[in-house]
């Protein structure tokens, strides 16, 4: 079950890696493993040079879908704390897009749950990226490999 150990946020503001890590470990003496994933705007995608991204979402659905994904992860692995942040709006090259942090007693649960959350977020959470390139703007196409990865679990 998703519960008070979860923090889920959809926001325009940037997030702070150190603050997120501290929130995962502070007063948490039972968890020996912390895995984090951070996604950033990189300078190229599918062969095109990227200047910036704009992230659109479906506000009424976004947080609900992220909560469901975290809940599914909790039903599969014994997890301590889960923190999931997804940014929206315009993001420049090198900026942070998404953070997933998971703590657990042992490392395997933390690794697998963190990767599972990202795989499902990539295929089920209602976010869409529009890329700004030197040749103009265009919507990012979904990658088959993301569906393949989510299908593994």
């Amino acid at each position: 079950m998703a519960g008070r150990q979860d923090y889920i946020s959809v926001q325009e503001l940037d997030f702070d890696q150190q603050a997120e890590y501290q929130a995962l470990i502070r007063d948490n003496p039972g968890d020996g493993a912390v895995v984090t994933f951070t996604g950033l705007v990189r300078n190229q995608n599918q062969g095109k040079r990227i200047l910036s991204l704009t992230l659109e979402h479906y506000p009424a659905m976004t947080k609900k879908s992220l909560e469901q994904i975290v809940q599914q992860a909790r039903s599969r692995w014994p997890l301590g704390r889960v923190r999931l942040i997804h940014r929206i709006g315009r993001l420049e090259l090198g900026q942070q897009i998404v953070f997933v942090g998971v703590s657990s007693t042992h490392r395997q649960a933390a690794f697998e749950a963190c990767e599972y959350i990202m795989d499902y977020l990539k295929t089920r959470a209602p976010f869409w990226k529009k890329e700004q390139t030197e040749e103009g703007d265009h919507w990012v196409e979904a990658r088959d490999s993301d569906h393949h990865q989510a299908g593994r679990w």
């Binding site: 979402h57 479906y58 997804h86 959470a125 869409w128 990226k129």
Partner: protein
């Protein structure tokens, strides 16, 4: 009444973010057919393979039954993360 929402590329090509339809529609498939019957670009961009659907903010299949007051959203495959 069914509230229908469109997002991302779909919102742009249809020049429409939101509309209300009186219905009734038995299921998502019936609603999708009604929208696709409006001709291009609706016909092309609302094909089941191209447009996912959520009912009341949860991803669903076309067989999902609809009732008055439902919020139905169509959108392209998601690309967040």
């Amino acid at each position: 009444m069914i509230r229908v929402l469109f997002f991302a590329q779909l919102r742009e090509v249809l020049h429409c973010h939101e509309l209300s339809l009186a219905g009734p529609f038995n299921d998502v498939a019936a609603l999708r057919n009604e929208l696709m019957s409006r001709g291009e670009p609706w016909q092309e961009f609302l094909q089941p393979g191209k447009a996912l659907v959520a009912v009341n903010q949860t991803l669903e299949e076309d067989s999902r039954e609809l009732k008055s007051g439902d919020e139905v959203a169509f959108f392209p495959p998601v690309t967040g993360g």
